[in-house]
Structure formats: C-alpha cells, structure tokens
C-alpha cells in the first residue's frame, strides 16, 4: 500500500487531508469543511474549538466515520476509512474508535456494565478482565455496574461512557462536548480522567468543545472558523484559550 502522506502514518493516530463536507444545494448550500488538512499525534489529548457553525462537530463526525465527507482522505491507525463500505466502517468504529457524547451516551435498557462491554459484545470478542477492573476502579464505578442508566447521576453516566470508550484500547477516543451537561465539579472530574488516560495509558483523545476551561485540560487546542483550521495552541491555559477565541470573534 502506498500512501502519499507527508509523515509516516504511524506517527499519527488520525490523519486527514483535504477534508471537504458540503451540506445542501443551491441557496441552502453550506461548506462545513473547506479542504481541511489535519493530523493528530498518537498519545495526545487534542481539543477542537471554534464558534458555533465553525465546523468543529462536522470535522469530528467525519474523522470518526460517523458521517461521509464529500472529498478527502482519512486515515485512522493507518487505515483509509474513506474507502470503506458501511459494514466495514461500522466494524472499524467498534474496534478502533471510542466515543463519549454530550448526552444520551448509554443504551437505557442495558446495565452500566453491559453498556461498557457493548462494543466488544457487538464484535463478539472477549474482554480483558484485568483491564476492565483497572478502568472500573480508576473511574470509581465498582458499585454501580449493575445499575441501569436512569439510576445513575449525570457524572456517573459520563464516567460509564468513558469506561466504554477506553475498554477497547481504541486508536482514538472522540469526545463531543463530553462535559456539556455536567456541573463544573463533575465536569472537572471527567476531564481529569480523560487527561490522565492520555498521560498514563497513552490514549489518543480528540475532543470538541466550546468551553475554554474544558479545552485547558488538553495538550493541544486547534481553532476552527468557517470550515477551516485557523490556529493552534500548545499547552493551553484558560486565559490563552479565551484570548485566542476572542481573536476569532467568538
């Protein structure tokens, strides 16, 4: 397989070139992504920020294989996902991608444990018991495993979602405003968990957020506006992020 990427693909968990996404036609035509080139280094926690309508969620959805891009190439762990059919894409998501959404993360009919094991169960694979115990212990979910989602608090539900995302040791975990529905203390807890999973387990994380505090937990912040990447901050703090955002007119 020949890949004409500028870097050796193994350096990056996720690598996209010329990513284009267009919604609608004629007068309702919106260019959500205008040929974005972006790479995410393995083992790093990256936040994508930008004002509403900047295309940050679309970028994440395309990178995660949840939505089709109109043009461009996406490599996840060296696999070109833009050429996969739906079934192969679904299986790729099962094995190589983890998700933490803003809300509605859990299947209401399943217990917390069943929810955590869901991607592996779908793939028909056995889970690593020791790894599950480690994650559950780290996230403090030990006594909550047999509860149904509606019996858990919002923070607990998000922690279950994090546990689920980490269990498969995916190439990358995508977070879509993972703390958007949480109070600041619980949100800080979940963000710390995400950061420590990067530091201690080497987990690659890509998170979309519009909250400067949440972004400050990341190693890198990418700034988007009108479907294009417009800036990058390393080792961000709340202040630098806020400053950068106001520079975008957000």
């Amino acid at each position: 397989m020949t890949i004409t990427a500028p870097h050796t693909s193994t350096d990056f968990a996720v690598h996209a070139t010329n990513l284009t996404k267009i919604y609608g036609e004629g007068t309702t035509r919106v260019e959500a992504l205008r040929g974005v080139d972006v790479s995410f280094v393995r083992g790093k926690f990256t936040a994508i920020m930008g004002p509403s309508g900047s295309g940050k969620s679309t970028l994440m959805h395309c990178l995660a294989g949840l939505d089709d891009a109109n043009d461009g190439q996406i490599l996840i762990g060296g696999t070109d996902i833009s050429k996969l059919n739906d079934d192969a894409l679904t299986k790729m998501r099962r094995e190589k991608v983890g998700f933490v959404f803003q809300s509605f993360n859990l299947v209401p009919t399943l217990t917390a444990e069943a929810n955590i094991l869901l991607p592996l169960a779908l793939a028909g694979k056995k889970h690593d018991k020791a790894w599950l115990e480690t994650i559950v212990a780290t996230l403090g979910l030990g006594d909550r495993l047999n509860h149904k989602p509606h019996e858990l608090s919002g923070g607990q539900q998000q922690r279950v979602a994090v546990a689920r995302a980490l269990l498969t040791r995916p190439e990358v975990v995508f977070g879509d405003e993972p703390t958007g529905n949480l109070d600041s203390r619980t949100g800080a807890e979940v963000l710390s968990l995400l950061r420590s999973s990067t530091r201690e387990m080497g987990q690659t994380i890509i998170m979309v957020t519009h909250d400067a505090v949440a972004a400050s937990y990341a190693d890198t912040v990418l700034l988007m506006k009108d479907g294009e990447l417009v800036g990058q901050l390393e080792d961000p703090t709340v202040e630098t992020v806020t400053q950068a955002l106001s520079g975008l007119g957000a």
């Binding site: 949840l66 079934d87 679904t90 099962r94 509605f104 299947v107 209401p108 169960a121 509606h150």
Partner: protein, 844 residues
C-alpha cells in the same frame, strides 16, 4: 386547537398511515356487512315484488290466520276465486282487476319433458308484469308464451307446438296441444324464476285446472285515477267479506313487499347478526391498534406538548387537540372504509351477476344505515381508543419542555380494578366452560367463553410482557441484537401488551375454530364409525340380484377396497329381513373387525333387545340365533352362510331359485376419498348396477357431508377472522415503526458504537417476531383450550369426544404470524438502518 390538530396531522401524516389503514379495514368490514343485508333486501324487492310492482292494491290470502283459526279446511273462508274477483271489480273506484293464477304443468317439447309454471297474463297494462320480447300474448286455449331464458335453453321458438299437460285435484289427466305465440322476458321472481314460465290465457287455465274453481295466489287492483288508495281498502274489504271470505289482506304494493320480504328472508337477518359479531371483533382489534398508536404519538410529542403548556395552553386544550386529531383521523378513515366496502361489494355483485345465473338479479344497495353506522362506529372507536392517551397528554407538565428527553423506564401499573375484574371474569367464565363441557351444554359453555376471553385480555398485562421476556431470553442466543431485541420488546409493557393482545384475539379465535372443527370431525368419525359399520351400502328395495360381472366391475372400481354380497335368506319373527353372506368377505368390509358373526350368531342393529332372535328361512325352517348387537342403528341382520344352512335350512343354491331373492351389497372404500370422488363413485356404482343413486348410501357419504359442511364453515369463519388478524398485524408494524422513531437516538448510538446495519435490522425483526410469535403461541394455546372445551360441550350430547388437534394448521397459524411480523418489521427496519449515525444523534 383545530389548527394545531390539523398541523399535526399534516406534519406527521406518515405516522397516521397505519392507524388509518386499521380503522379503514375495520369499518369497511362493518359497512360491507350492512350492505350485504341491504343488497339482499333490495334484490328481493326487485324480484318478489315484480308481479305486482305497478298495481295500486294487492289482495292476498292470509295463510297464517286461517291456520290459527282452524279454518284451513274451509276454502270459502280464504280461497280467492272468480267470485272474489267479481266482488272487487264491482267496488266503486276500481278500474281493473286481475287474479294471477298459477298452475304447474308438464311440457313436452322436442321429445323431452319439462316442468313449467303457467300464469295468466293481465290484459290491463298497469296490472301486467309480463313483458313481451317477440310475438304476441296468447289468446284462446291453444296458445302460450314462453319465457326467453328457457326458450333459448330448450330451443323453442314462436310457432312451435308444445304438448302441455297436468293432473287435476280429482286425479284427471288433461293435456293440450298449444302453439307458442310469443317469447316473454325472463321473470325475476324467485317463486317462479327457477322453472320454465308459461303465460297462458284464462280459457286455457280453465281447461287445465278442470271443473274446480280457479284459485288465485293474489289479486291485483288498478284504481281509477285520483282515488285515495287507503280509502279504497275499506269498500274492497267489505265486498270480499260479503262473499264469505275471512282471511285475506289488502295492501299497497309497498306494504306487500315488506311483508313478503319478512316471510322470505328470515335467515337473512341471522347471517347479518353473525357477520356483525365478526365486524365487532375487527373493530375491537382496531381500537387496540388505535390506542397504541396515539399513546406512542403522544409520548413522542411530550416536549412539544410541554412547550404548548409553557406558552399557556390549558390542559383541556391539549386534550381536545389530541381528541380532535383522533376525530379527524377516525372520520376520514371510516369514510374511506365505507368507500372501500362499496367498491368491494359492487365488484363482488358484478362478479356474482356475471358468473352465477341464479344471482343475475342481485342489486347493490347502499342504504343510509350502511354509510352512517360504520362512520359513526369507526369514529367512536377511534375517539374512545384515543381517550386514554389524550388524558396522558393533558398531564404533561410544562417543565418537561425544559428537560432533555429522558428515556426513563416506563412503569406500567396495570390498574388494580382491571386485574381484579379480569380475574373474576376468568374464574366465572372458566367455571361455566368447565360445567358446560362436563354437562354437554353448549349455551353455558358459550357464555363461559364470552365471559372468560375478555377477562384473559384484561389480565394480558400480567402475562404477555413476562412471556415475551422469557421467550426472548431463551431465544436470544447470547447475541447483542437478540438480547437488545428481547429487552426492547418489553420496554414498554403496556404497548407490548396492547400490540400482542390485538393479535392474540384473532389467533385465539382462529385456532379455536380449527381445533373445534377438527375435534368435531374426529368425534363424528368415531361416532359414525361405530354407527355405520359399513362405508357404502347398496340396497335397492325393489328387490334385485346383481350379475356377477357387474359385481366384479364394482369391486375393481377406483376407491373400492372390498365388497360383500348379502343375500336375503329369510326374516326374523319381528319382521326384519335376514341376510346371509360369506364371513370372510364380511370381515373385510366391516369397520369393526370384531363384529363378524360366528356360527349360530346374527349381526343386528342397536334397535334389537334381548339375547336371541327367532328367524325363519325361506324354506320354512325356524331357528333361534344368538344376537351380536352393534351400535349401528340401521343394519340388515346378517349371518354366515354356514349358519343360514345349518339353522335356517337355506343354501346359496336354494335361494337362487327363490322368487324373493334379493341382494344387498356392503362396500369398503378408501378413507382418502374426497366428497367429489365419492359422488362420482356413487354415480358409477349406481350406473353399473342399474339402480337409482339414492340406493347407494352409507356412513361414508354422511361422514363426508358433515366434513364438507364443517370445512366450509371453518373456511368462512377463518376468512372473516383473518380480517382481525390482518388489522392486528398492521398494529405490529405500526408499533414497531413508532418505536423506531422513538428510539432514533438510541439506534444511532448503537450504530456509532459498532452495530452494523444488518444487526440493527435483525434486532428490529427479532423484536417484531418476539411480540408476534408469543401472541400467536399464546393465542393458539388459548384457542385450542377453548376449541376442545367447546367441542366437548357440543359433542357431549352425542357421545364420547375424540380429541384431535390439527397440529399442522396450528403450526401454520404461528408460522403465518411470525412471517407476517417479520414482514411488518421490514419497512421500519429499513428506515432505521438508512439513517447515518450522526443524523440520529443530532435529532431530538
């Protein structure tokens, strides 16, 4: 609120498709039932009333009254004859009268004999129902007109000479040569339409009816213009009473039609009642489907409704907006149902008219009742079914709009009242069923069924979700889609219960009919097997023997297994004819092999009492035979030839010379022979042996007749119930597609987490199959129990019941339900699978 309801209907029109379809089918059924009745009545009006349709008054005999008064032997009190005719004619205001007399005559045309009904034609145009096609009306006593149908069929044309004849009441045979003067249009009157119709003049009638006074079936009167008909009744009545008549009626044609139809269509109303029961079942099932649909629609719209509340909508306004929606849906769907029914009935009648000659007069009638009743019933059912969901909508709190949609498990607490009431009904009904079955009383058992079934349905929420859950756990096979499906299937127990109940009703009733019919058939088989020891008996009482080559040919016929020849050898003291045969051949034709008479024994019917029978052979020798009494109540006493020879002194040789010699044949035929094959066999045997067909009879014929009747009833009833099953299956599709809408986000999440499209479809199909399959399974079990108990209470009166379960048919019912549920999942599953994961996540 009307505006809001209309906007909802427009926006969510797709969600109403299934519920509209269900209501439409239910009301179409009801409308069609009512139209059957109306059309039958209308058809009768056009036919029965055709003979007096244009008259002003009709005078008829009052048969019931003279019977009741015991005067039926006094003809002067009720027979309308020429005297009566004259009396009416002389009444002031009467312009013309005609007595329509009718006699049966034999007609010989072209060397063949036919039966014909001869009527006199009125000379007054207003009183004549005879329409000439060609030629002229008959005059004098040597002319007739013949109706077009039979003229065509028998190839008779104007100018032909026929010989017609009749036998008078005094036994005198009269015959006349007559010339065909004209061809008349065929009659619609069922009283005369089934035979050749001759129109004759009064003089020919007089000649044919002999010296006795002519009797008219009815007298029609034409009044002078401008006469009040009701006012004319009194003078006619008194004029008739003046002639000594007591029992008659004077009616206008409209009044007469009503009376005639009442007399003619007694069975028609019962058919309507039976059909109405099925229509009611279909409507109840429809109601369940509607209730479910609205419950889901409301659940989906909780936030929207909450927003309305926040913006100031009163609770009552929310409720009425939902009820207006239901009203509109019910009204539109019911009207569509009536249209559908009208279309179907019109097409059916067209087919009937074109294919069945006797039905050529069938007319479609859509009376106001057939339009209004179904629309009102359909709308009312929809409204009633939407009432509970509407109440729920009313209780939505304004705050619900501000909270994200939460999917907290829906707890369904079955109302305590309903549980207690249901349990009471089941207990009382089961007791009545058991009693009815034990005592062989179908009325009590039927009452038990009517009580207990609604009870079972009320308790449905107790056992339906649990069974679905248990079966789901057993069959999930540990796969994620399977597990999720079985969890989803009982996620909303109330909805699962209602969906499954709708199907349960139809399946229970269908399997009840199947098991009941099968058991009834088996029980009859057993009863007939011992009652009719012989499949087919050839018994020509005129006394014949059959040539050996004919017997050989009969024995070789397709379907005949064996044949025994029984020869008359004498008679018993009580006068029964006694027959002798070869015991070996008897063994092969009797349905019960243990009942072959041994030496000194005679095989007799159940009508014999005691132990012995005294019998005398043709030679005059008397002997005492030991009786072998069977359960058969119609059996020729039979002995072996050795017994006949040793005890009655009759041998094959001696009997052959006897003038009283006659033979009866007993045949055994293949069990597999169908009704048509048996008929053919019967005709073939009769033909070969040169006997009348009725001489060939026996248990197998009767058994086949019962079986045919039962099969026919089963087919009709199953067809009617299939409508209820169809509506229920629409309900399954509906529930599933609404659940899919409701779970869009969840399904998208699962897709994001790695559920493939195929797995998603499989999950939804499993859910549908679980609900449909469990409902069908429980329905078959329940229906079988009802069927057995019902059959026991019917057959109890006739003897022991033979339990017989039509396994294959019942398995078929379950298979059809499962396949249909699977099919019902296709559309919703495809829609769910089409959605890209991110689309669903974005949607609220």
């Amino acid at each position: 609120m009307l505006q809001l309801a209309l906007a909802n209907l427009k926006t969510y029109s797709r969600r109403f498709i299934a519920v509209t379809l269900a209501v439409m089918i239910g009301t179409a059924f009801l409308a069609a039932t009512l139209m059957v009745n109306a059309s039958a009545t209308e058809t009768l009006k056009n036919s029965i009333g055709s003979s007096y349709a244009n008259a002003d008054l009709v005078i008829g005999q009052d048969y019931m009254m003279d019977m009741a008064a015991g005067d039926e032997d006094k003809p002067e009190t009720h027979v309308l004859g020429p005297t009566a005719l004259k009396a009416i004619e002389s009444v002031d205001g009467v312009a013309a009268v005609h007595g329509s007399a009718n006699i049966g005559v034999g007609v010989n045309a072209g060397g063949r004999d036919y039966y014909a009904s001869a009527n006199t034609a009125a000379t007054n145009k207003k009183l004549s129902s005879t329409v000439l096609e060609t030629g002229a009306l008959p005059t004098g006593s040597e002319q007739v007109a013949i109706d077009a149908t039979y003229a065509g069929e028998y190839n008779i044309s104007v100018g032909d000479v026929l010989e017609i004849g009749t036998t008078t009441a005094e036994g005198k045979e009269i015959s006349r040569q007559v010339k065909v003067s004209g061809i008349t249009a065929a009659s619609n009157d069922p009283m005369t339409g089934s035979a050749m119709n001759l129109t004759i003049g009064q003089s020919l009638l007089d000649a044919l009816s002999g010296p006795g006074e002519t009797s008219y079936g009815s007298i029609v009167v034409a009044a002078r213009d401008g006469i009040d008909l009701q006012g004319l009744k009194a003078p006619i009545t008194s004029a008739l009473e003046g002639t000594g008549l007591k029992y008659f009626q004077v009616n206008t044609p409209d009044e007469q039609i009503v009376k005639d139809i009442a007399a003619f269509s007694g069975g028609n109303d019962q058919l309507t009642i039976v059909l109405l029961v099925f229509a009611l079942i279909a409507l109840v099932v429809t109601g369940l489907v509607v209730m479910n649909t609205f419950a889901v629609l409301i659940a989906q719209r909780t936030r929207e409704l909450a927003l309305m509340r926040t913006l100031g909508a009163l609770r009552a306004q929310i409720r009425s907006s939902v009820l207006i929606e239901a009203l509109l849906v019910g009204l539109l769907a019911s009207a569509a149902g009536v249209l559908l029914a009208t279309g179907i009935m019109a097409a059916l009648i067209k087919v009937l008219v074109a294919t069945v000659p006797e039905m050529s007069i069938a007319t479609l009638a859509v009376n106001p009742q057939a339009v209004i009743v179904p629309i009102v019933a359909g709308t009312a059912i929809t409204l009633v079914a939407a009432w509970m969901p509407a109440r729920k909508a009313m209780l939505v709190s304004p705050l619900a709009a501000l909270r994200p949609a939460d999917d907290a498990a829906v707890g369904n607490k079955a109302g305590k009242v309903r549980i207690v009431f249901g349990a009471l009904l089941v207990a009382a009904g089961a007791a009545a069923l058991a009693y009815g079955a034990a005592e062989g009383d179908i009325l009590i058992a039927f009452g038990g069924g009517v009580l207990s079934f609604p009870g079972v349905l009320m308790l449905g929420s107790l056992f339906l979700p649990k069974t679905v859950s248990a079966i789901g756990a057993l069959t999930s096979g540990g796969t994620v889609p399977g597990k999720l499906a079985s969890l989803n299937a009982v996620r909303n127990p109330g909805r699962t219960t209602a969906t499954a109940t709708a199907l349960l009703i139809g399946v229970t009733l269908v399997s009840m009919m199947m098991v009941g019919a099968q058991t009834a058939k088996a029980s009859l088989d057993a009863a007939l097997g011992s009652e009719y020891l012989v499949d087919v008996e050839v018994n020509d009482y005129s006394g014949t023997t059959f040539p050996a080559e004919s017997l050989a040919k009969v024995k070789a016929m397709n379907g005949v297994q064996d044949l025994a020849e029984l020869t008359a050898v004498g008679s018993s003291k009580s006068g029964q004819e006694l027959f002798a045969t070869d015991p070996g051949s008897l063994n092969s034709v009797l349905n019960n092999g243990s009942q072959v008479p041994a030496a000194g024994q005679v095989l007799v019917s159940s009508n014999n009492e005691g132990k012995t029978m005294e019998a005398t052979g043709f030679g005059g020798k008397t002997g005492t035979l030991e009786m072998l009494i069977t359960e058969s109540n119609a059996l020729q006493p039979a002995v072996g030839w050795d017994t006949a020879t040793s005890m009655l002194g009759v041998t094959r040789e001696s009997v052959a010379k006897d003038a009283n010699a006659r033979t009866v044949l007993w045949l055994k035929v293949d069990d597999s022979l169908g009704n048509a094959e048996l008929r053919t066999l019967q005709a073939d045997i009769a033909d070969e042996l040169n006997v009348e067909e009725y001489a060939v009879g026996g248990g197998v014929m009767e058994k086949q007749m019962f079986n045919t009747v039962i099969d026919m009833l089963l087919m009709i009833v199953s067809g009617l119930l299939a409508v209820a099953v169809l509506i229920a299956l629409i309900g399954v599709a509906n529930t599933l597609s609404l659940s899919v809408l409701e779970r869009t986000r969840e399904n998208s999440l699962l897709r994001a987490l790695g559920l493939t499209r195929g797995q998603l479809k499989k999950m939804l199909a499993t859910e549908a199959v679980l609900i449909g399959g469990v409902a069908a399974l429980l329905g078959v079990l329940l229906g079988s129990a009802y069927g057995l108990l019902g059959a026991q209470s019917v057959m109890g009166a006739f003897g022991a019941m033979s339990v017989s379960i039509p396994w294959l048919q019942l398995a078929g019912v379950i298979a059809v339900s499962v396949v249909a549920a699977l099919a019902a999942s296709i559309v919703p599953a495809r829609r769910a699978a089409k959605l890209a994961p991110v689309q669903g996540l974005a949607s609220e």
